[in-house]
């Protein structure tokens, strides 16, 4: 066999096909990334003017919204330049508190049961199937469910509690699945190791497995929350879209939330509202970014340990 093929060979011919293929891939990735960039750029460029502007429109205007903090604390208004996102922001905070306090115990509890204790039988399998399906059920349907169960049946009315519980139902499957993944990622050898030392099943799970899985569970929780924070559709059914211009003070108060407020503003025909909507979106994206970074941070910090 000659050695020439090693040197000349079909390198060139291959190279063309290879580069072409790689080029296609580059294009696809670029488009995917570029749209995101465009989206963010568009929002930023429209919204920042709103957040930094100090111009006055109209005659009665006295409240000048000229910095982001004011935007966060001010009430909504009929005038785009004076509309703040205060009640919506407060509503979102309320929602988050309700969601976390209900989802965390139930989500992790269910995950621990299913992953560690559930017998491998038809009932368990049925629960699992339910969960995968629930995770994929469109959010509007949760809205309908919340409407029927919390608003009407439980009599919570169109309140922040109903909204929070509805969002809880929405992200519960996501959190359960993520927590299960975190538990699943704990090698079986850890369980066996603990049991072989004479630990009871309970000790093995709660002293070794769960602590190892906590970072993953928290990450799942954070990601679930970040989904909840941006959800709009189900909250529409909670009356969040009606003009709410006060801060909720009890769980049974009416409320609105940031994405709803944004949706509201998008709906107004005047061009100035675009800027206000953008400002709302910037806030929303900012919150998401913080939560995602948190999730990534936790994951990177603890992932290599296992």
């Amino acid at each position: 066999m000659s050695n020439e093929t090693l040197i000349t060979g079909k390198k060139a011919e291959n190279a063309i096909k290879e580069s072409l293929f790689l080029f296609t891939l580059y294009i696809c990735v670029t488009i995917a990334i570029l749209t995101l960039m465009t989206l963010i750029y568009d929002v930023l460029s429209t919204g920042t003017t709103r957040l930094t502007s100090d111009y006055e429109v109209g005659l009665i205007t006295k409240i000048q919204i000229d910095n982001p903090i004011d935007f966060l604390t001010t009430l909504d208004s009929r005038y785009p330049d004076r509309a703040g996102i205060g009640p919506a922001f407060a509503g979102t905070v309320w929602l988050m508190i309700i969601v976390v306090s209900v989802t965390f115990p139930f989500g992790t509890g269910a995950a621990i049961y299913l992953q560690e204790f559930a017998p491998k039988n038809k009932i368990t399998r049925f629960i699992e199937l339910n969960l995968t399906n629930l995770a994929g059920v469109p959010s509007v349907i949760y809205g309908l469910l919340g409407l029927a169960v919390f608003v009407r049946l439980a009599g919570f009315g169109r309140s922040v509690l109903s909204g929070g519980l509805t969002l809880t139902l929405l992200i519960l499957p996501v959190v359960i699945v993520a927590s299960r993944e975190a538990l699943k990622a704990v090698p079986d050898t850890i369980r066996q190791g603990a049991l072989a030392l004479g630990a009871t099943k309970f000790q093995a799970v709660f002293r070794q497995v769960v602590p190892s899985a906590i970072p993953g569970m928290v990450t799942g929780m954070v990601l679930g929350l970040s989904r909840a924070i941006g959800e709009t559709a189900p909250l529409i059914f909670m009356g969040a879209l009606t003009y709410v211009n006060y801060f909720p003070d009890t769980p049974l108060s009416g409320f609105t939330a940031i994405p709803i407020q944004v949706y509201n503003w998008i709906g107004y025909p005047q061009a100035e509202w675009k800027e206000t909507a953008s400002a709302g979106i910037i806030l929303l994206l900012g919150l998401l970014l913080i939560m995602n970074s948190l999730a990534i941070f936790i994951r990177n910090r603890y992932e290599k340990d296992l």
Binding site: L39, G143, P173
Partner: protein, 309 residues
């Protein structure tokens, strides 16, 4: 050696603590809550939907054959086919955008990207996946429609199916890319090395070895993406418009199941009216469609996971 009886006493000394029982009860109950949620979804949707069909104005036949969806009109028509076709139409546009872009991005990420590039792009895609849909809706309405659609396809309305479809497509790219990437990554590295060691190029390796090996996972990502597109609400509500008639022109507005649900609920439809009940009929229709897709995707995904475990 110790006495056999002592030993037996020791070995039979079982310890149980009440706290363990309580905790176990609680977590078991949590898990069963999942069933409860599903049952309540089906139950609430069904009961109200049954009320809907009991209205003499509504016929089962009409529900599936009428070509208009006008529940709040004087002479209401309930042609769900309008909504279903719009929904599928927009979903298909979304898939045409997201499948190739998502899949090729996944191939790039798992087969060609250096570790560093991957480390940047993966989180970016994840962030993209987390962007609230209302933002995509805003983007479709305020950027895609004026800057792309209306510029290149004159005569397009402010609300149009194309723009909504594209935005939905962009929204599900990360889903498709991320699950496909997971599927490609689940293929053991040893297969890649095996192929390269036989003298295959990277292109052949990714197309002939890695892609088929990850196929079931990729299909699962497609199905899930499609299901997401069908259930997507805010984008289509904001950018897709509400054209209540059967229509296949992408430049015009369309009326998806989800946006009609939102619209009905927005209006001051009183509780108990047929129009109100229609919400739940639509809900169950949507539920069934996504249910089938989700279960299918899960089934296929499970299969591929088993292959390499």
């Amino acid at each position: 050696m110790e006495n056999v009886n002592d030993l037996r006493d020791q070995l039979t000394k079982t310890i149980t603590r009440p706290i363990e029982k309580i905790v176990k009860f609680f977590i078991t109950a949590s898990a069963f809550a999942a069933i409860l949620i599903s049952i309540s979804i089906i139950f609430t949707l069904l009961t109200e939907a049954i009320n809907f069909f009991q209205d003499p104005a509504v016929t089962f036949k009409g529900y599936f054959t009428a070509t208009r969806w006008t529940p709040t009109f004087q002479n209401p028509e309930y042609g769900v086919i309008v909504l279903i076709s719009s929904t599928l139409y927009i979903a298909v546009i979304a898939c045409l955008i997201s499948f190739p872009l998502g899949l090729f991005s996944a191939i790039y990420l798992s087969e060609f990207a250096t570790k560093r590039t991957r480390k940047v792009i993966k989180p970016v895609l994840e962030v993209l996946a987390g962007v609230p849909t209302v933002v995509f809706g805003y983007f479709a309405l305020n950027w895609i429609t004026p800057n792309i659609i209306q510029r290149f396809i004159p005569g397009t309305g402010v609300f149009n199916a194309l723009s909504a479809g594209i935005a939905v497509g962009i929204m599900i790219i990360p889903t498709v890319a991320s699950i496909s990437d997971d599927a490609l990554n689940a293929v053991p590295n040893s297969l890649r090395n095996g192929s390269l060691a036989l003298g295959a190029t990277r292109r052949i390796t990714s197309l002939k070895i890695m892609f088929p090996a990850a196929l079931s996972g990729i299909i699962a990502s497609f199905i899930l993406g499609f299901s997401r597109a069908i259930g997507e609400t805010m984008i289509v509500t904001i950018a897709g418009g509400q054209y209540p008639e059967l229509n296949l022109d992408p430049r015009s507005a369309m009326y998806t199941i989800t946006s009609s649900i939102v619209n009905v609920s927005l209006g001051d439809t009183p509780h108990g009216t047929t129009a109100y009940n229609a919400l739940f009929a639509l809900g169950i229709t949507l539920f069934i469609m996504t249910f089938i897709l989700n279960i299918g995707s899960d089934y296929i995904a499970r299969k591929y996971r088993k292959e390499y475990e």
